[in-house]
């Protein structure tokens, strides 16, 4: 069994996930599968107005309807909440005004779903409409009326201006200076499971909430705040998520509403959102307009870069401040950028709130950057793969914006996909209508800072060894399908030398498990994995101490493997793992340990330095091949080659699953997925359904050729880095670059729909610039820049003090 080179028996093996059998037998209990005696059903009334003052709400008729047990409106829960401490701008139900069509206004609990639905029809809401804003540009142009009474100015929620070194001077040193504009349309997660939650209230003052959430710890905090209950009397259990992708990372109105309704009625209360409501919850990709200017030497090396982004945030803050910083953070970790300026703005609009979707704020700028690089390479007559290889950020280095790059396998990634796709034989050499395009990317393996300021670990693990030989691992992490429960079992099994299927995993329950911040920012394998390593190593130490005494062997000669503890020099001399636990338990009492993980401190000390730092960065390179029909503009993608630097695969089969799933979701974003709004005001969602929101079926999905690059990172457990989000990022630009290779037109906007391709082709026929994309970036009232000297200017990560006149 053991790999001869590494001696590892579990890590690196393609094993089943620990919950695989439950998943394939339908035994997994998702939130909507839970039912309790006397359970009530909750429905939310949602706003029909995009932006309006609530004049009055009359729920008296609804309250009298047979079966209705309770009705709530905004005034019943006046305390605001929100995922970020700086954006506490949501209410369980709107109090004074509504901000988008779909904003919750009232909640009903009734003995049947039918009665609850009928009750919603009896609630009368009187609105006084306000002017609504459908795009970031409109919000920039109209500071009044303000959608929120907070934010940097008018309807601009957040404005950022950061400068690392003198970017203008850096850009001017280039042999060429290139400027481009891009637009990335918003899209949504579309998990197959609709969000659901069930709450119970016990007369002893204890609230329990089961919810399909990626972040039970943050839901716990929000419930305590809004319901004014001690956190110690609230238990949040995250049920296995039927897909998350970031869409279940915020505390939501429906979770708080069922909790309050359970408290009022004393009965269990459940809500399952309709698919339409899932579109209103949204928190998906921000529509983002981008402008980029780069100075480049003839050999392809970058001399300086200036990047601007304008994000359409929708109606609420959500993670938006972080999303905005992320649109400017990771440009520097792939190719060397000696000086860098970033200006970012997020606008409020009257549409469903945007937030974190797989890749969080990074797919948009990565699309812009990688297409921009493709254009630069063409202008310089360089092969885009060669150009990238020559300018890679070196491993173990600090970027201009103080991100600490550790292991860096992008070079190997590029070489793999170039070879596998026969890039050199095909790039610019295929017949018209066929093309190949290349793009790269990088992503964080966990955010370096928590959502709310604190000095505590980001992930904690408790471990219990049973005298029967079983091991139970407790961790607050949440399995959303990515396999985080399995990662805990594999790691503990590796360290203690037991069968991973002898490890019981208890996760995502605030009563039972130590805090893990949640399944977001690709943090779980690295952070909960490191915590699990620590807990398991501590347990091994205790067991080894007593096994060594019993076996009369020095402790450092003991091996834990194959369910045994034995002398590595004389393997017959040993005992079973269960016996080792028994000897230790007899000597010391119950055997339990803890482990925790806190990321390294970030190198940047300037305001805004909290977004971007990570213990490790993953890298990906991608080649897409396309067939473009010049008659219809339809783009087909037969094959994508992807190489991903995952540091170390804990389980290569699940790593490949994440890679293929990322390619799939990226392909959807590249070709078809978009949140579209209709009506004169463009604020009515275009039929919020799975039919109208186009996503790839088996018939659109491409073949995927996957290469796993293992460049172990010292900060990762066994060297592991992230894989859940990074491989999505290069797909959209690779497809766009391939479309150009195929038909010679640039579609500088995602998704690349047939209409856009045709429009660009028509322009080409007329001799105009063969391009579809945005042509201006609006004037934004940028703040005074925060100036940070780069490391090579002798900077220490701090901003230069501003001199006040």
């Amino acid at each position: 069994m053991a790999s001869r080179k590494s001696g590892r028996r579990v890590i690196g093996k393609a094993l089943r996930k620990v919950d695989a059998v439950a998943k394939v037998t339908g035994a997994t209990k998702f939130a909507d599968d839970l039912a309790f005696p006397r359970m009530l059903y909750c429905k939310l009334l949602r706003s029909t107005q995009p932006h309006a003052r609530i004049v009055s709400i009359d729920a008296s008729a609804a309250a009298k309807l047979a079966g209705v047990q309770a009705v709530l409106t905004g005034r019943d829960l006046p305390i605001p909440f929100g995922i970020l401490p700086v954006s506490q701008d949501e209410h369980t139900m709107c109090v004074d005004k509504v901000r988008f069509i779909g904003d919750p206004v009232a909640a009903v609990a009734a003995t049947s779903e039918e009665a609850a639905t009928a009750a919603l029809d009896l609630i009368r809401v009187y609105y006084e409409p306000l002017k609504s804003f459908a795009s970031a540009e409109e919000a920039v142009a109209h500071p009044e009326p303000r959608i929120h009474d907070y934010g940097d100015t008018g309807n601009l929620h957040k404005l950022i201006d950061l400068e690392f070194g003198d970017a203008a001077a850096g850009i001017a040193e280039g042999d060429i200076v290139r400027e481009d504009l891009f637009f990335f349309e918003g899209n949504t997660h579309l998990p197959m499971e609709q969000h659901a939650a069930v709450a119970t209230w016990s007369p002893d003052g204890k609230l329990t909430l089961w919810s399909s959430t990626q972040t039970p710890h943050y839901v716990h905090r929000a419930l305590a705040k809004v319901l004014e209950l001690p956190a110690a009397r609230i238990r949040v259990i995250a049920t296995p998520n039927g897909g998350g992708f970031g869409g279940k990372s915020d505390p939501f109105s429906h979770e708080i509403a069922v909790a309050k309704l359970a408290m009022i009625t004393g009965r269990p209360v459940k809500i399952t959102l309709t698919r339409e409501e899932v579109f209103y919850c949204h928190r998906g990709r921000h529509p983002t307009l981008m402008w980029i200017r780069t100075g480049v030497k003839k050999d392809g090396s970058i001399t300086g870069m200036h990047f601007r982004s304008l994000l359409d945030g929708g109606a609420y803050g959500s993670y938006g401040v972080a999303s905005t910083y992320y649109t400017g953070a990771l440009q520097t970790v792939t190719y060397q950028v000696p000086s860098y300026k970033f200006q970012g703005a997020r606008a409020f609009t009257n549409k469903a709130p945007c937030g974190p979707k797989r890749g969080h704020g990074t797919p948009q700028p990565r699309f812009a950057l990688e297409v921009h690089i493709d254009k630069i390479a063409e202008e310089l007559k360089l092969d885009p793969a060669e150009m990238r290889l020559k300018t890679l950020v070196p491993p173990n280095s600090l970027t201009a914006n103080y991100l600490r790059v550790g292991s860096m396998g992008l070079g190997q990634c590029i070489e793999k996909v170039v070879e596998g796709s026969e890039w050199k034989k095909r790039f610019r050499k295929l017949p018209r209508g066929q093309g190949v395009g290349l793009a790269c990317s990088s992503y964080i393996s966990g955010a370096g800072l928590p959502i709310y300021w604190n000095n505590m670990p980001h992930s904690g693990v408790q471990l219990k060894c049973d005298r029967g030989g079983g091991v139970t691992v407790f961790c607050g992490s949440t399995d959303i399908g990515q396999g985080s429960d399995s990662i805990l079992a594999y790691i503990v099994a590796e360290v203690l030398g037991v069968d991973p299927f002898h490890v019981a995993v208890v996760t995502a329950d605030t009563d039972l498990t130590p805090v893990d911040l949640g399944s977001y920012s690709s943090r779980v394998t690295l952070m909960s994995g490191n915590a699990a390593v620590q807990a398991a190593e501590r347990a091994r130490q205790i067991l080894a101490l007593h096994a060594a005494k019993k076996l009369e062997v020095p402790g450092d000669r003991l091996t834990f493997a194959d369910g045994r503890v034995f002398d590595s020099k004389d393997p017959k001399r040993g005992m079973s793992f269960a016996e080792a636990v028994q000897w230790a338990e007899a000597a010391e009492g119950t055997i339990g340990t803890v482990g925790s993980y806190t990321p390294p401190r970030s190198a940047g000390k300037y305001r805004g330095a909290g977004v971007g730092p990570s213990p490790a960065y993953s890298y990906s390179a991608c080649v897409a091949e396309v067939d473009v029909d010049p008659e219809t503009g339809i783009v087909r993608v037969p094959t994508i080659w992807i190489a991903h630097d995952v540091g170390r695969s804990i389980n290569p089969a699940t790593v490949i699953g994440q890679v293929e799933g990322s390619i799939y979701m990226g392909l959807g974003e590249a070709l078809m997925e978009e949140m579209t709004y209709r009506g004169d005001l463009k604020v009515v969602h275009k039929i919020p359904s799975l039919l109208e929101y186009k996503s790839p079926t088996t018939l659109e999905m491409c073949d995927v050729i996957t290469y796993l690059i293992e460049d172990p990172d010292p900060n990762g457990p066994f060297g592991a880095k992230e894989v859940g989000q990074g491989p999505l990022l290069p797909v959209m630009p690779a497809v766009a670059n391939a479309v150009y290779d195929a038909v010679g037109v640039r579609v500088d906007e995602v998704p690349i729909t047939p209409e856009k391709v045709l429009k660009a082709l028509r322009k080409k026929e007329k001799g105009e610039v063969p391009r579809f994309g945005p042509d201006r970036f609006p004037d934004i009232p940028w703040p005074e820049p925060t100036r940070v000297p780069t490391p090579w200017e002798g900077g220490d990560g701090k901003a230069v003090e501003r001199v006040h006149a």
Partner: protein
């Protein structure tokens, strides 16, 4: 409404003759999940768009959210709960588990049953035939590829062939 009188029908569910009383407007999906406790059948839209609620009605995949419970009188329904036989996984369940064809697992019951119906009709489907058969089922996690591979591997085993997963599908390209 909740006080509406119930209707009683007889049907065969997972091989067992079953009598059940329920509100007449209920769909087969609701009948299975709410009245028979068979929550292995999931839902993603309840509008017939995603395929997540697929079950077999007289051996044919149907969207249980679009079929009235009443219409199943004296018919036979098969759900994921019946796929494992006497504690032994169905070959499709084995390969879905081994290849990681189930990530979040929410769409998995529907894919398993649709694939089972395909293999009953066509024991040796091509990759394109598998894609066609599964085109009505959405999965947001896997990108479908592990699902195709799992169906192909199970099909080979169900034909009596000795088959193992390819190295590339578990470990990637060399």
């Amino acid at each position: 409404m909740s006080n509406e009188s119930k209707v009683k029908i007889a049907l065969t569910v997972n091989g067992e003759r079953t009598e059940v009383a329920f509100a007449p407007h209920k769909t087969l999906l609701e009948l299975l999940r709410e009245d028979l406790g068979l929550t292995g059948t999931k839902h993603g839209c309840e509008l017939g768009e995603c395929g997540t609620c697929t079950v077999l009605l007289d051996g044919t995949p149907v969207l249980s959210c679009l079929v009235l419970g009443l219409a199943c009188t004296e018919h036979s329904v098969r759900t994921v709960e019946a796929m494992a036989d006497g504690g032994k996984l169905h070959p499709l369940q084995e390969t879905f588990a081994d290849l990681g064809a189930a990530q979040c697992g929410y769409c998995t019951p529907a894919f398993l049953l649709t694939a089972e119906a395909l293999l009953t009709e066509n024991p040796k489907p091509t990759r394109d035939e598998i894609k066609d058969a599964l085109a009505g089922n959405l999965c947001r996690c896997t990108g479908y590829i592990k699902i195709y591979e799992a169906v192909e591997l199970a099909a080979a085993r169900m034909r009596g062939e000795t088959a193992e997963p390819s190295r590339e599908s578990l470990y990637g390209q060399p």
